[in-house]
């Protein structure tokens, strides 16, 4: 590669990195500034004191972020466990049993994957309401479990790569179908489960519309809705909003740095299905 081309390549990469990082970095600057400092200095000026955590404390208490993280974690854990259980069971039946209407069921899952969730909320809301789940964490949990077709795909595809001879061997040893699922299939499914947990986990952590619509009570704030509440009353205090935004972003940064490889693989597997 010529010198010019190489320079252009690195210049474009650096420029793109600046465009990605600058909006985040200036907000990080703002989150460490005092109110007086914020109004006095430009947004590109770093904070005078990098250990000024006052805004973080204000944001954490005013936004009741502890509750937000608690609710998010609760919903995350329950809906992930549910998705994995429901999805692997269905995938087990579909890939290992012959039964009537199997193709029809597969077709139902396939078509449902095309229905964008935002379009049906008008009607879904009435159903969730009639079940009495509005303003409970269960609304988000059942919706996260019930609208997830991608994970069933991932499970089915992965299960097809597990040789059926393993099932048969266990069956000869007298294992019941459920024991085979529990003891043979499920442990072998770990990579697929990891993929689903990662892509679904990120989606649930970031979800805004469902908690915003179904969990209006302040006790039920998840991190997205807790952060969103800063928009009105704190409009003039950007340093507090900045700190709260950082509180929401930091866990994502940590998870990304720790699980990079799995995240890339999970995203690729999930999106191309």
């Amino acid at each position: 590669m010529s010198r010019v081309a190489r320079a252009a390549k690195y210049a474009s990469l650096v420029l793109a990195s600046v465009i990605v990082l600058l909006p985040l970095v200036v907000l990080l600057f703002a989150s460490f500034k005092t109110h007086e400092e914020y109004s006095r200095t430009g947004s590109l000026t770093p904070p005078e004191n990098w250990f000024n955590f006052d805004n973080f404390v204000t944001a954490w208490t005013a936004g009741d972020m502890f509750r937000g993280f608690l609710n998010t974690t609760l919903i995350l854990v329950v809906s992930l466990a549910g998705t994995v259980a429901v999805g692997t069971l269905a995938a087990y039946a579909i890939s290992r049993f012959v039964f009537p209407f199997k193709r029809l069921i597969l077709g139902l899952f396939l078509v449902a994957a095309l229905v964008p969730g935002v379009t049906t909320q008008v009607a879904t809301y009435q159903i969730v309401k009639s079940m009495g789940l509005v303003n409970t964490p269960w609304s988000a949990i059942v919706l996260f479990m019930g609208t997830d077709i991608i994970s069933i795909y991932i499970f089915i595809q992965f299960m097809q790569s597990i040789p059926p001879s393993l099932d048969q061997a266990a069956m000869i040893d007298g294992a019941s179908r459920f024991t085979i699922y529990r003891r043979v299939i499920l442990p072998l499914m770990k990579p697929a489960i990891a993929t689903v947990v990662i892509i679904k986990g990120i989606a649930v952590y970031n979800e805004f519309y469902i908690p915003f619509l179904y969990m209006r009570s302040p006790d039920l704030n998840v991190i997205s809705t807790a952060l969103f509440k800063f928009k009105g009353p704190y409009g003039a205090q950007w340093e507090t909003i900045a700190a709260c935004t950082m509180i929401v972003i930091i866990p994502t940064v940590v998870i990304f740095l720790l699980l990079q490889r799995f995240i890339y693989n999970g995203i690729t597997a999930g999106a191309t299905k």
Binding site: S43, G87, T120, I127, A242, I249
Partner: protein, 307 residues
């Protein structure tokens, strides 16, 4: 729900005849939870939505007034409702930029590059961020005399500063730009993955034959990732029709940035016109299904093989 379960029963007995008696009822038990969730939260809503769309209903009243196609007529004739479709065009145009940028960086980083993983991580990272956080990051960036204005002045483009979110002529461009910032990373990682799944020997063979980078791109990389690129365009169409989070969080649909989903949300949950909102949702759903159907015709799917 009960009606579906009743219908299912005869199938169980049919299965009983064919399979060894010991495992007769199992498959249905395993599929039931997923199927019940699927029917309750996807198919029943779609059915109800169709039903609501032919009625005038506030969501609370026990009676609904049938209005025939009245709601649909309103969606297509009342400017407030069909105009929001046009806003999708901004996001659709932006997705071309997004795919082009993603493709450029995927190709660049598929060759030997210093700090490759660092650049890959930086480019991909925004996709993982919380939508509300992204909204706030860009609200801050676009503030009058905020970061963007400061940077423009710094590089001598001071006269181009605008009310990025306040001026209806630019607001949609700013929001579409935010959406590009947020989603380019996804396309980029998908393209990169597709490029890297092309076996390395092919490049080596090409290099021996004297192919330069451009030839390699055009004859090896491009055919290898054609499918994922077409898929990205299809997703871009349905994605730009159903934009919600970014404009809702950043401008609440003010200054001419109201999208179709924001309009449907307000119609349903603020003005309690469930019938009209359902008609909007049905139109959107049909559009998305149409686009997907065209995709299946144009681009036969070789990967989905589940039976």
């Amino acid at each position: 729900m009960t009606s579906q379960l009743v219908e299912v029963r005869p199938a169980v007995t049919a299965g009983r005849r064919r399979r060894r008696p010991k495992f007769k009822h199992y498959p249905w038990l395993y599929v039931a939870p997923a199927l019940i969730l699927l029917l309750t939260f996807t198919y029943v809503p779609v059915g109800n939505m169709l039903f609501y769309s032919f009625h005038k209903w506030d969501g609370l009243d026990v009676t609904m007034d049938p209005v025939g196609f009245g709601n649909y007529v309103k969606v297509f004739t009342d400017e407030r409702y069909w105009r929001v479709f046009l806003i999708s065009l901004y996001y659709f145009a932006a997705s071309f930029a997004q795919i082009a940028i993603a493709l450029y960086f995927a190709v660049v980083l598929s060759f030997e590059t210093r700090f490759r993983n660092l650049f890959k991580g930086i480019l991909f990272f925004p996709y993982l961020l919380n939508g509300v956080a992204v909204g706030f990051v860009f609200l801050y960036l676009f503030q009058p005399d905020g970061t963007l204005d400061t940077v423009l002045r710094l590089v001598g483009l001071g006269e181009h500063t605008k009310l990025w979110l306040g001026d209806p002529d630019v607001a949609n461009l700013s929001l579409a730009g935010t959406s590009v910032w947020r989603f380019t990373g996804l396309n980029f990682v998908l393209f990169l993955g597709a490029i890297q799944s092309i076996p390395g020997e092919i490049y080596e063979a090409a290099e021996i034959d004297g192919a330069n980078r451009w030839h390699q791109f055009w004859h090896i990389i491009a055919p290898g990732i054609r499918r994922i690129i077409s898929l990205s365009f299809i997703l871009a169409i349905s994605g730009s029709l159903s934009v919600f989070e970014i404009p809702f969080i950043m401008t609440s649909g003010a200054n001419g940035t109201r999208t179709f989903v924001i309009q449907a949300y307000e119609t349903a949950f603020q003005f309690r016109q469930i019938g009209l909102a359902s008609a909007m949702a049905v139109v959107l759903l049909l559009l998305v299904l149409l686009v997907t159907w065209i995709q299946r015709r144009v681009l036969p799917d070789e990967e989905v093989n589940l039976s």
